[in-house]
Symmetry: C2
Subunit: 174 residues, 2 copies
DNA sequence: CAGGGTTGTAATCGGCTGATAACCATCCGG
DNA sequence: CCGGATGGTTATCAGCCGATTACAACCCTG
């Protein structure tokens, strides 16, 4: 397997580990085992644990951006913002991407992570505003609901549906 | 100083450390130094690092609940939900409480943390619905905007006001 | 088939950190 | 003044984890 393919596999594994455990608790050894290789090789291909984290974060943001672009393109005559919201809801299903974003927000105490997140969020905001043509108020509400859904995903509230009604109420936004 | 007073001081220190660094990266030694005592004493008074975290989390949730109750009580004839939103904005100013909540969400990969957060969020949701008398839709939007503000606080976007316009747009919700 | 680049591993190190154990100081009631 | 309860500390351990080093297998290409 080429180093490039290996890198992809490592980012796959890293996305799982970091999204579940966060930057600090996730170990490069767990990433390596998940990718089927040895821990030192992970470090060698990326240089450091932080670099692996940033690669995984980059993929997560890129996936969301792609989903938004595709949804807007496929919206046709409908409301692009609603189409993007539905696309985000679909991303929610596997929980991994969204948890990764939440972990990145939480890791923003670190200045480098914060800089990356700021830059990507800035891009995403501009892109959503451009694709949707919506008012600033609606765009803000769109992002607010997205953040709520991140937390809903983190707490695994969908599995509570049919339970306490507050979970229902929050989830029906989809 | 009595053990009870010491516990309060430790929770104060823990709130700072955990909110900034998250559960994993924050150290009991840093908490101890901030509280002006030795690291083993922190462990002895709380039993474990996790217990310190949970105590700090409890205080954060309680502070928010108190702020909401006070705001609703002081709302008079005005809109209680708007008053609570303003109160949340005021809490945002010191960033610590909100960051603590965000860290708790991120730490929800841990089942015990997740259980605590679910329970407290459930209580808070019920309380807000009761105090405000608002429709489920409005209550959900209220929480969504709160989650957005958490992220805004984490990324320290207010310091960007006057910079890229997306930060302005998100912050003007206050 | 020589040999260098590529892909990978085993062994190990070194620092950090939560937790434990043992000990010490101070205060106060009888 | 004695002795236990209370409020602490120092010293130390034991495990984890990221990173480094040195080495090994493989595969092309000339």
């Amino acid at each position: 397997m080429t180093a490039g393919e290996r890198r992809v596999a490592i980012v796959d594994a890293a996305l799982q580990e970091f999204s579940e455990h966060g930057f600090e608790k996730a170990t490069t050894d767990a990433v390596a085992r998940r990718a089927g290789i040895s821990q030192p090789y992970v470090i060698r291909l990326f240089g450091s644990k932080r670099a692996v984290f940033e690669a995984a974060l980059d993929r997560a943001f890129t996936a969301v951006e792609t989903a938004f672009s595709d949804a807007a393109a496929a919206a046709g005559g409908g409301d692009p913002l609603r189409a993007m919201g539905a696309a985000y809801g679909r991303l929610l299903e596997d929980r991994v991407l969204l948890m990764m974003l939440l972990q990145a927000f939480a890791a923003s105490g670190d200045d480098r992570v914060k800089a990356v997140v700021r830059e990507r969020m800035s891009r995403m905001h501009a892109r959503v505003a451009e694709l949707s043509g919506a008012t600033p108020d609606r765009v803000r509400e769109f992002f607010a609901m997205g953040m709520l859904l991140n937390v809903v995903a983190a707490l695994e509230l969908p599995e509570l549906l049919g339970g306490p009604d507050w979970a229902d109420r929050m989830c029906e936004a989809l």
